[in-house]
């Protein structure tokens, strides 16, 4: 659907008043990026709405501040980005726009949530639990990517998938990212392995492009393997590896 100018201008007010549903809000947000005049008007309307908010100010409970101050000790601050919208950010927005190397993290969000649109629908049901879970995964992945001892290896699987492993001894974690991964087929999944000598230990499943945190201790492993397995995974590989990547030393 394409807004012509009149529609868009009419929606700027509803947008600033928070009166659009999530789909319309996202749609109009995208429109704003392409329309400077609309952006200016929406910004003025938002500033106007903020006066309405200030007009109903009342102090929260005194105990609330101590709780917030205690909580932020454990809350990682997001890095700056080059934004295209003045509006408030949702986690989905952040993930979509986050620049490399956080593209890996964006991949995770897409993979685990099936895309922002679905996420926006699910938000209705379980905003907090989901956001927390994604944030935890994102934090883990970000911690690995940002670790001073992070090492990266790239590979290409036999089926053409492009793969990246980033591991950090300090974090004792590794993440695996795949692009161009062909669909595994009905009743099948891709399984990751950590190779320790001749032993292959299950390290998680991945069935479409994205990023996963490898389960198990990468420290002791020499390589990461990828095989095609029956859905649900196997205790040990049942097919020839599509990929065996040495972990960077």
């Amino acid at each position: 659907m394409k807004h012509h100018a009149t529609d868009a201008h009419t929606l700027a007010a509803a947008y600033a008043l928070g009166a659009l549903d999530p789909g319309e809000r996202a749609h109009f947000g995208a429109h704003l990026q392409a329309c400077e005049a609309c952006r200016e008007e929406a910004a003025e309307f938002e500033a106007t709405a903020a006066r309405l908010a200030a007009a109903v100010s009342q102090p929260p409970a005194a105990s609330a501040k101590a709780q917030v101050m205690a909580t932020i000790d454990g809350v990682r601050q997001l890095p700056p980005r080059v934004p295209t919208s003045a509006s408030a950010l949702s986690l989905g927005d952040i993930l979509r726009r986050r620049a490399a190397p956080f593209a890996l993290a964006a991949g995770l969000a897409a993979a685990s949530l099936g895309g922002v649109a679905v996420w926006r629908a699910q938000i209705e049901q379980n905003l907090k639990a989901q956001a927390r879970q994604v944030q935890q995964q994102l934090d883990t992945i970000s911690a690995v990517l940002a670790a001073p001892d992070a090492r990266t290896a790239h590979g290409r699987a036999a089926n053409g998938a492009l793969t990246t492993v980033v591991s950090s001894d300090r974090q004792n974690k590794a993440v695996f990212s795949a692009a161009n991964l062909p669909a595994p087929g009905a009743g099948k999944t891709y399984q990751l392995w950590l190779a320790q000598g001749a032993t292959m230990r299950p390290a998680g499943l991945i069935d479409h492009d994205g990023t996963v945190i490898l389960t198990g201790n990468p420290d002791a492993a020499g390589a990461v393997g990828l095989t095609l397995e029956p859905a649900g995974g196997s205790a040990e590989p049942t097919t020839d590896p599509l990929l065996l990547m040495a972990l960077p030393a």
Binding site: H9, T10, L11, A12, A13, A14, A16, L17, G18, A19, L20, D21, E40, A43, E44, F45, E46, A47, T48, A49, A50, R51, L52, A53, A54, A55, V56, S57, Q58, P59, P60, A61, A64, K65, Q67, V68, M69, T71, I72, V75, R76, Q77, L78, P79, P80, R81, P83, S85, A86, S87, A88, L89, I123, E124, Q125, L127
Partner: protein, 222 residues
């Protein structure tokens, strides 16, 4: 074109109430109210935000003091339940900490940024709670309409928002309804249209015309 109020009785005109008994809404507003130019003291908040973006917790403590009353005020206005509002407000404040580095002064004032985030979180909370019971939601929307006068009166009673009060009086009643039901009650414009039994385009126009009048009356620029 305008349908009568759903309850069938004529809507009393808005009036300025005495402040007696309205103590709980007459709290000091620390920032950005009643002034024709946006963000009086705003550069102070912008500086604070920069420090917060670098992980400065003392700066965040000051930012909290400056913004928490506005955040809690608008959240409780929309969410209504006090316990839930406390929770949502804390989430908003934590979000301001988390996203501090993403605040862009050129896109708007700190106050506007915080108000936008707070209002969005509040309506998300209300709508997710109501999504599973849409019919009740529609009923609630109608009840909101009935409660509208009370809401408008509360707005009007604020001593410290002389400008907002004056500018709200400058709207037509139908504009004020549309703006208030959306912003203070957290209704979508579809719900506003349903509650007022008014066609969607009319509602959108009223919201737009109302905001333009408020903007011009308040002298908002960005």
């Amino acid at each position: 074109m305008d349908a009568p109020p759903p309850d069938g009785r004529p809507r009393p005109s808005l009036r300025l109430l005495t402040t007696a008994g309205a103590g709980q809404v007459n709290q000091p507003v620390p920032i950005n109210t009643g002034r024709p130019s946006d963000d009086h003291g705003g550069s102070g908040l912008t500086d604070l935000m920069q420090k917060v973006a670098h992980g400065d917790k003392e700066a965040f403590s000051d930012l909290y003091d400056a913004l928490a009353p506005m955040v809690f005020g608008i959240v409780v206005k929309v969410v209504r339940d006090r316990a839930q509002s406390e929770e949502v407000s804390q989430e908003v404040m934590i979000d301001l900490w988390r996203q501090a580095a993403r605040y862009r002064p050129e896109a708007g004032s700190v106050t506007t940024w915080a108000a936008t985030i707070a209002h969005r979180r509040a309506v998300d909370r209300v709508r997710s709670a109501q999504a599973s019971a849409h019919r009740e939601h529609a009923q609630a929307a109608r009840e909101h309409t009935i409660a509208f006068d009370e809401v408008a009166e509360q707005v009007e009673t604020r001593l410290d928002s002389e400008q907002v009060r004056r500018c709200m009086r400058g709207l037509t009643e139908v504009q004020r309804q549309a703006v208030t039901l959306a912003y203070y009650q957290g209704l979508t414009y579809r719900e506003v249209a349903e509650a007022l039994r008014t066609p969607l385009p009319t509602i959108k126009t009223r919201m737009r015309d109302g905001l333009i009048r408020l903007r011009d009356c308040m002298g908002v620029t960005t």
